[in-house]
């Protein structure tokens, strides 16, 4: 156990060079694009030329690039991510991200539930009844799932379940505001304030986006679980389990499942990490003000500090998701010790 803590700390220290690298790369990329945020604001014709010059001075955009970078780093390490220039001029970036993040988290929660609760059983059943009708249907379904564009599926779901059969709301907006707003995640706040209406609203509003978003991860997980299950079922210890007198179900769910979940854990963890970074297309189709939309908006409007902060945020989340997977691995597989 002690080794595990040391391992976690070591991994967190490794975060520092990765974060520095990510920031440098993002900075260079952003500044390689012709244009800048003030020019973007000025281009709309709302700003007089002297104001543009003033703003360039205020944001330090006239400084050499490396000085800009080091000034930015200095701010970041003091916990100051700066203010938005062009997306929401003057707004604190930390606040912007913290407002958007709960929506992304909520979407991730629902999509992950679909991914895990449907993906794992589907993969197991598919492997158990290999080459049967069930297996073939699952495999074709998973193939369709990985090949279907998210935005297309989202729009199709809107047309079918929002317009033709209006069961679910078309867009995200309109969830009943709960009394307690501790997390910003409607589902959790709904439970905290025991507001039934908020819970139902949250489920209804997130149903279509999370199905659209979850379809891809679900298919990936199903395929992964199926193939690793088939591999495990050929192992000697499965034969040993049968020779002991285990029933087919005990063999599969007790002896094979845990072993076959090892590779699936990696996939699930990284999928969740990816989802938490924001799902631009889904968020756009369903008008969810999440992290993905915030960052694309920032990129389109040359909002340097917001892009930097957003990318930094995604990188950290992804690394932490990776770390969680590694820790889970040690828990699932006794052969792995840190």
């Amino acid at each position: 156990m002690k080794g595990l803590y040391a391992y976690i700390i070591r991994r967190l220290i490794l975060l520092i060079p990765v974060v520095l690298g990510v920031m440098l790369l993002t900075f260079i990329l952003m500044h390689s694009i012709p244009g800048n945020p003030v020019a973007y604001l000025g281009g709309s014709g709302k700003l007089p030329p002297d104001a543009v010059e003033k703003l360039i001075k205020i944001y330090g955009l006239d400084q050499p690039l490396f000085i800009q970078f080091f000034l930015y780093l200095a701010n970041v390490f003091q916990g100051n991510l700066g203010t938005s220039i062009s997306v929401n001029p003057g707004a604190n970036i930390t606040d912007l991200i913290l407002t958007a993040f709960p929506h992304t988290v909520e979407l991730t929660i629902y999509s992950s539930i679909i991914m895990v609760l449907v993906g794992i059983p589907a993969g197991v059943i598919s492997a158990k009844k290999r080459n049967s009708l069930t297996d073939n249907v699952t495999r074709v379904g998973a193939l369709i799932g990985v090949s279907m564009p998210v935005f297309w599926l989202g729009i199709m779901l809107q047309i079918v379940f929002g317009v033709a059969i209006p069961i679910f709301p078309l867009l995200w907006a309109g969830i009943h505001e709960p009394a307690v707003k501790a997390t910003g995640i409607y589902l959790i706040d709904g439970f905290l304030s025991l507001d039934f209406r908020t819970i139902v609203d949250s489920i209804m509003h997130y149903a279509l986006p999370s199905i659209a978003l979850g379809a891809l991860s679900l298919s990936i997980v199903t395929r992964m679980v199926r193939s690793s299950m088939l591999e495990v079922l050929g192992e000697d210890y499965i034969r040993t389990a049968r020779a002991k007198g285990c029933s087919e179900n005990a063999t599969i769910y007790r002896h094979a499942l845990r072993n076959s979940l090892l590779p699936a854990t990696t996939v699930i963890g990284l999928q969740i990490g990816g989802l938490l970074g924001g799902a631009v297309l889904t968020e756009t189709v369903f008008a969810i003000p999440g992290v993905g939309r915030l960052i694309t908006d920032a990129i389109l409007k040359y909002d340097y500090p917001l892009v930097m902060a957003g990318v930094l945020f995604i990188a950290i989340i992804y690394i932490i998701a990776n770390l969680v997977v590694d820790v889970l691995y040690a828990y699932l597989d006794p052969r792995i010790r840190y």
Binding site: D236, T240, K244, G245, C246, R258, P334, R335
Partner: protein, 345 residues
Amino acid sequence: MTANVLLTIRNLRTHFFTEEGVVQALDGVDLEVYEKEIIGLVGETGSGKSVTALSVMRLIPQPGFIVDGEIIFKGKPLHLLSEEEMRKIRGKEITMIFQDPMNALNPVFTVGNQIAETIQLHNDVTYREAFNQSIELLRRLNIPKPERIVNSYPHELSGGMRQRIQIAIGLACQPALLIADEPTTALDATVEVQVLELIKRLRDEFNTSIMLITHDLGVIAEMCDRVVVMYAGNVVEKADVKTIFKHPLHPYTQALLGAIPYAERKKKSRLTTIPGTVPNLINPPSGCRFHPRCKHAMIVCKTLKPMLLEEEQGHFVSCFLYSKNKEFAEREHGVFEPLPGRIVY
């Protein structure tokens, strides 16, 4: 041996229906296992030893099926039992341990958990009781520090220890028959001796019959009461262990014995080899399956299949060189002459 018969296998045929064709892995196997005996199954790779064992366990992998014959265990026809009934016999009355101790245990459970699982599957006890019983069992098997071993994972143990754990799982419910499929092939010579000693002791202590599958004739000589020699899915010779080594009848058994190196061999005598390879069982040789490799092959061997007949008291052989099959062939076939055009060794 006047003991009671525990297991009888009659005319067992197990075939694998693969895409390339039907693999006739077992082609009419006849054998019996008596109570409290150690019976050795010996033969080359692909001779059907393991398939015989898996057929008894009814654990033949897809796409294999028992197509004919019967397996009678304590009066029960195993080949007719439902999967549910068979499950109650596996692990309780008949158990099996496998060759590769590296993979035969589940890597994610402690060994105590895996022994206790077997006990719980077949007895109405709590997990705690089953777990304590596993410690007791390991102690009975003279395994040092059983309290520590039960909390280990398989990867923390040596190959020999894992094989002992497999044996413990096999013995957890005091079975009447333990099938050991090459239990020591993957072990070091020194560990091999210890594991074999353990298996031998079990017969006396647990009153278990043991079917020992091996291709090591040294192990057979050391361990077994009786030997069954298999070739390409057939039993070619069956006798008690002394008879097999002193007075082998079947040309295949003789060739097999001629291929063992031993220290007292005279300087000039060379190790013999058996020409050719184990036949393809999708399209096996006609008649006696050994005839293409046999130096005594005759015309009749190519056309007729010899039966496993008792040549001497308790000594069965399936070869036309010996009186009963010979008489049968002369009566039915009328011809009896050497196969022309063969090299005589």
